[in-house]
Every structure is written in C-alpha cells, then in structure tokens.
C-alpha cells in the first residue's frame, strides 16, 4: 500500500507547479491550464485522505470540484475566445484596458 504522504507530496508538487505556471506564464491558455493543475492537485489530496480515513465525503467533494472545473472551463474558454477576437492576443500583459 502506498503511504498517504506520497500522495500528499505529489499533490503538493502538482499544486506548486500550477502556482508557478500561473505566476510565470503569459499565455492565457497556459495560465488556464495551470489553474486546472492546481485543482487536480487538490483533488488528489482529497481522494487520498478519503481513502486513508475510509470516508466518502472527500470523494464526493472531488466530484463537486470536477463539476465546477468543467463549468469554469466552459466559461473561461468562451472568455478567452472573446478576448482573442477583440484584442488579437493571448498575452495577459497586453490585456490591460482596465489599468489606470
């Protein structure tokens, strides 16, 4: 049996990768994917704990996260397409019309 800590470390690494990608990347689609990575890192820790404690709540919660992530992907991708159509770029640094 794989110990809990392995899952948690992997989860942490995935989350950290997500954060790093979010902070470093300029391409909006990459940033979006980083967010998904963070969500899945968290999902992994949820299921790991659920398995460890034999509690179903964690697994149910993962489904919720997945539903939200799917909705988010639908809305997010629509926004990205709209942004690309008006700005003709996917670089977030150039999407700065609201800046002072």
């Amino acid at each position: 049996m794989v110990p809990l800590s392995y899952y948690l470390v992997l989860s942490g690494i995935l989350f950290a990768c997500g954060v790093a990608g979010f902070l470093i990347k300029r391409n909006i689609i990459t940033i979006f994917m980083s967010i998904e990575l963070m969500l899945n890192g968290v999902n992994l820790s949820f299921v790991a704990f659920a398995a460890h404690w034999h509690a179903l709540a964690g697994q149910v919660f993962v489904f919720f996260v997945m539903v939200v992530a799917a909705a988010e992907a639908a809305v997010g991708l629509a926004i990205i397409i709209a942004v690309y159509r008006t700005r003709e770029t996917l670089n977030v640094d150039q999407v700065n019309l609201l800046k002072l």
Binding site: V19, V92, L98, L100
Partner: protein, 661 residues
C-alpha cells in the same frame, strides 16, 4: 384680588400687530399697515388704561399666572405677570408715549420704502418692553431686556444700507451685551443664593438680611452687577457710548426707544431691585456717583454738539444720570418720577426735533437752521414747552421731578451736598444747552440752503423727504403735530402729580416710606424752598446766558470757543472717550483676534492639523498605490506569498504547540 385683569393681553396685542405686519405687511398698502400698527399699540394702551382703572379697586401687587416655563428641582420659573404701582406707572408711560409715537411715525415714515418693516419693529418693541415691565421674575424681565436690545439694534440700523447706521446698530448691541453680561451674572448669583428668580420670593428672602454696612458682600456684588446691566441699557458711564451713535436711527425711534422707554429700563430694574440695593450701601454709593458723574459729563458734551439729535442724545444720558443719582441716594420714587416726566418732555423734544428735520428736508446740523419759529410755529411752541420743562422752569413737568431729585440728593441719608452741587451745575448746563438748541434752531435768520440743496443727505434719500423740493421750511402734517401737542400738554401738567409728595405716596407701597417722611420737618421745608429757589435761579441763568450768547451776540460763541481752543476741542471730540475705548479695548481685541486666534490658533493649529492629516494621507496613498499595478500575475503572486506566510505560520504554531505539549 379675584378680579382677572388679563394683563397678558397688553404685551400680546403688539405682538399680534408684529405678526400681521411682519408676514402680510410687504404686500399691504401703507394705510393697512398703519391701521394694524396703530390699532394694536392703541389697544394695548386702552387695555393698560382699563387695568389702571381696575387696579385702583384691588389689592396691589397683583399677580397673574400664565404658564409654567422652567421646572428644575426646587427652582422654577413661570410665565407670569406682576402689577404694582411701579409697573403701573411704567405701563402707562410706555403704552401711552409709545402709542403717540406710533401715530407720529405714520407721518414721519410715510414715504419710507420699508414702511411696514418700521411698524413691525415698533410693535415688536412694545411687546418686549411690556414683557420687561410686567414680568414677575428676573428671567422674564431678561427676555424683555434682551428683546428691546434686539429691536434697538434693528431700528438703529433701520437704514442699514448706510454704513454708519449699520455700525451704530452693532455698537449699540455690543455695548449692551457687556451690560447684559453683568446682569446675567447677577441673576446666577441670585439663583445660587436665593434659589429663585421670582421677585416676591427673592425680595422676601433678601428682606431679613441686614444691610451690608461693614463691607461689601453678596448683596453688594449682586447690586453692582445689576448696575452694570443697568449702565449698559441706560447709557451710563462707562457704557454710555452707544447712545449718541444710536441717533442714526429714525427720529421716532430715538424718541421712543432712546429717550422715553428702553433707556429707562435700567432705572426701572434698579428701582424694582431696591430691596437689594437698600441693603448694599456701597452699591448705592456707586450708583449715585455714576449717575452724578454721567449727568455732568454728558451735559458738558451736550454744550458743543451741533447736530440737533446729538444734543438731545447727550441730554438724555445726562437726565438718565439724574435718575440714577436719585436711585443712588435711595430716592427711588423721585427717580421714577423723573423717568415719567422725562418720557414726556424728552419724547416731545425728539419728536419736535424730527419735525424740525422734516421741515428743513433732512438737515440735522443746527448751524444750517435758524429763524424757524415763523415757518413752523406749532413745532416751535411744543419744543419750547419741552425745553422749559427739561430746564426745570416752573411749573413745567421737569421742574418738579428734577427738583425732587436735587432735594433728595441733598437731604437723604445716603445723599450729600456734593451730589446736590453737581446736580445743580448740571441743571445750569442743561438749561444752557437746551436754550442754545432752541435759539440756534428757531431764532435769527434761516441759514439753510434755499431750493434743492439740502446739505448732507443724512437720511434725506432714505425717508424720502427729499422727494419734493423744499423751497422753504414747512410745517409737518397734523398726524405729527397732534402727538406733539399731547406730549406738550403732558410736559406742562405732568409734574403736578408730584406736588405735596403725592407721587411719593402713590409709590410708597413699593418703596416703603423711609426717606420721604424723615425729611418732613418745618426747618428742612424751609431749606427745601431755598434750594428750589436756587435751582430755578440757575435754570433762568442758563436761559439768559444762552440768549445772550446765541441771540444777542451770535458771534461771541465762536470767539469763546477759539479762546478755549484745547478744551473746546476735547469736549467737541466728546473727551476722546470713543478713541480711548478704541485704543484700550477694541484695538487689542481685534489685534488679539487677528494675531492669536485667527493666525495663531485657527490657521496654525486647527487648519494645519486638518491639512497635514490630509496631506499625509495623500503622500502615503501615493506610495501605496504602486502596489495596485493592474498586473494580474503580481496580484496572484501576492496571494501565493500570503498563503505561504499563513501556512508557514500555522506550521510554526503547530510545532510550537506540539513542543508545548
């Protein structure tokens, strides 16, 4: 006793007139405004007459409760009215003379654009003055006291577009405020020590106290502070300076407020508080000295004034000095007697002066008058009567009252021959300057400009007498002359009520019968007649001197003035009192306010605190706003860093707790 006099109607009637004229007068015709103004003041007078008629058949003092006002523990003040012989006399004088002056104003102010405003104020004045007189406690009296001060301000500055009138109004108000401060402190002392402001209660509690002969105590302090208030309202040294300036107001105002009624409120208040004053000999002496000095001082200034109303103003101050002299020697009834006759003849003098000013088209300088007796005979005759009355020529009213005061000043236990002597000198000066006024105005040749030029337009344009070109002086309309004649009649016979101490006896329930009876011996009767003779002689001498200087040898006065150059200049500038006050009080106050309060505290402390706080916030924000870059990833970085910090802290906490366990 059980009869209800409905005293409350007397002040409320003029108040109703004020309300009607104040709210509706602007759109009403002059006739309607005059009708309202005259009706309500006349109704007050008639009601006062009715009250006087009923009062003879009931027990005085009569009290009338209207409403509760202040209830605070054991201390309480009511809206209530008080009628005794003293307030009855004041009531009749104020409503009677006030009504006559209302009538006169119809003629005098007819062409003024703010006609309705004038009558609104006049009625309001009647309301406050009657509140003052009829109050049964000091606080209600104080309402009236402040109210007449307010109306005085409004009416002195009636022609407020003229700068001098506006500042004269302010001066009157501010100087009065100094006096009111003293009055207020006195009231606080009374509340603290006697627990009431009700006249009856206060005097009942003061009554058992022994006179403070040994030294100055509580009663002396209260009396002196009351005197400060009285000095402000009644224009005594050192607070008299506002009254001459107050002549900027319309002449009926000068007659009503600044001669006949309001300025006598101080005398009334001191007389009303006689129980306190009689137990404070030091304060009485101060009152007598202030009165005597004011009488002399103002009279000397009156000699050299050339503005007809200024002469009368100083004369008023001087006569008020007589009244305070009387109060100061304990002869309150003599003071009130003079107050009454003074209201007649000084009201008449002012109204007649107004008629003269009217006749010559707004001119007030006596040097530009002269020879008017053939142009305006009625004004001349009435003014002549008033002059005889004020100079103390028998049998006119002023003789009886002034002589009463001089005799009391001489014979009373608080009196002294010094008061008498100064009073006598003042009587001589009074007679001199009043006949000087009469001779300069009515004798000789008319020195005014003929035709359209009316000299300085002091208020010509304001009250509109300039509108029709004055070819030559003309008599005033009947509506102005009738009040003059009635007052002239009163100036002749008004003094007769004092013969044989009848006035004294009438007031004796109020003031007690101390001094008047003590001097009833035959020997002192002889002295009294001798002194009476002397004062008449002195008055006649004043008349003759004035005749000699201003009718027989009209060029002599200038030569005398020239030979006394320095002294003449000093008197002409009213002893430089205004200048001294300006240097001593006004200038330091303005400088202190400018340098310390405005530049120092207001700008350096208050403004700078706020400005610096705002500047600081602005600078800090300037720095902080760089954090808000608009760069989404930097925000995310901050969030990540924050989250990392929170996690680190929790880890550290967990380890710490773990270590603790």
């Amino acid at each position: 006793m059980t009869a209800n006099l409905n005293l409350w109607l007397i002040p409320v009637l003029p108040l109703a007139g004020t309300a009607i004229n104040g709210f509706l007068g602007k759109k009403s015709s002059r006739t309607a405004v005059s009708a309202v103004g005259l009706f309500f003041s006349g109704a007050a007078f008639l009601w006062a007459l009715k009250v006087a008629w009923q009062a003879s058949s009931i027990d005085l003092p009569y009290q009338e409760f209207l409403a509760h006002w202040i209830r605070s523990g054991a201390f309480s003040v009511d809206f209530a009215f008080y009628l005794d012989q003293l307030s009855l006399i004041m009531l009749l004088v104020v409503t009677g003379v006030g009504f006559l002056i209302h009538i006169y104003s119809v003629g005098y102010m007819w062409e003024d654009p703010s006609y309705y405003r004038f009558f609104t104020y006049l009625n309001l004045f009647m309301f406050f003055m009657l509140t003052l007189i009829l109050a049964n406690n000091y606080l209600q009296m104080f309402i009236g006291w402040e109210g007449v001060g307010l109306v005085s301000y409004l009416l002195v500055g009636f022609w407020f577009t003229k700068d001098s009138a506006a500042s004269a109004g302010k001066k009157a108000f501010i100087v009065n405020r100094i006096g009111d401060f003293g009055f207020l402190i006195a009231l606080f002392l009374i509340i603290q020590h006697f627990g009431s402001l009700n006249f009856t209660q206060v005097f009942d509690r003061v009554h058992p106290l022994a006179p403070e002969t040994a030294g100055a105590g509580l009663l002396t302090a209260i009396a002196l502070l009351l005197m400060v208030g009285a000095a402000g309202k009644s224009a005594q040294i050192p607070l008299y300076v506002w009254l001459p300036d107050a002549m900027e107001g319309p002449t009926p105002v000068s007659a009503l407020i600044h001669a006949a009624t309001m300025v006598t409120a101080g005398v009334y208040m001191v007389s009303r508080s006689h129980v306190i004053f009689e137990r404070a000999p030091v304060a009485l002496t101060v009152v007598a000295i202030i009165g005597t000095l004011t009488a002399l001082f103002a009279a000397t200034i009156g000699i050299v004034q050339t503005d007809i109303k200024k002469v009368l103003a100083y004369s008023t101050i001087s006569q008020l000095g007589y009244m305070f002299m009387a109060c100061g020697v304990g002869a309150f009834s003599a003071g009130i007697f003079h107050l009454m006759t003074h209201a007649f003849f000084k009201g008449l003098l002012f109204l007649a002066a107004g008629s003269v000013i009217h006749a010559v088209g707004g001119e007030q300088d006596m040097r530009k008058m002269g020879g008017l007796k053939s142009y305006i005979p009625w004004t001349f005759m009435t003014m002549g009567i008033a002059t005889l009355a004020i100079s103390g020529i028998p049998p006119f009213a002023g003789f009886w009252s002034k002589d009463e005061i001089l005799w009391k000043a001489f014979s009373s236990e608080h009196g002294s021959w010094i008061y008498w002597l100064i009073g006598l000198i003042t009587a001589f000066i009074t007679s001199f300057y009043m006949f000087r006024l009469l001779f300069m105005t009515f004798w000789g040749d008319y020195r005014g400009a003929q035709g359209d030029d009316h000299g300085h337009d002091s208020h010509g344009s304001s009250h509109g007498h300039d509108g029709h070109g004055h070819g030559e002086p003309h008599e005033s309309p009947m509506v102005m002359l009738v009040p003059l004649m009635i007052l002239a009649l009163l100036s002749v016979v008004g003094g007769l009520v004092g013969i044989g101490d009848r006035f004294d006896h009438f007031l004796s329930p109020v003031f007690g019968t101390g001094i008047a009876e003590a001097a009833g011996e035959a020997a002192s009767k002889a002295t009294e007649y001798i002194l009476m003779g002397i004062s008449v002689l002195v008055a006649v001498l004043g008349l003759l001197l004035a005749y000699f200087l201003y009718v027989s040898r009209p060029h002599l006065p200038q030569r005398i003035a020239a030979s006394l150059n320095g002294f003449y200049e000093t008197v002409l500038h009213k002893y430089y009192v205004d200048e001294i006050y300006a240097a001593l009080f006004v200038k330091p106050l303005i400088e202190g306010s400018t340098q310390i309060l405005w530049q120092g505290i207001d700008r350096k402390v208050i403004d700078d605190t706020i400005n610096n706080a705002a500047d600081g916030a602005k600078h800090v924000s300037d720095e902080v706003r760089h954090m808000q870059s608009g760069n989404l990833r930097s925000y995310a970085g901050w969030i990540a860093a924050g989250a990392a910090c929170v996690i680190a802290w929790m880890l550290w906490l967990g380890m710490g707790l773990g270590a603790g366990k």
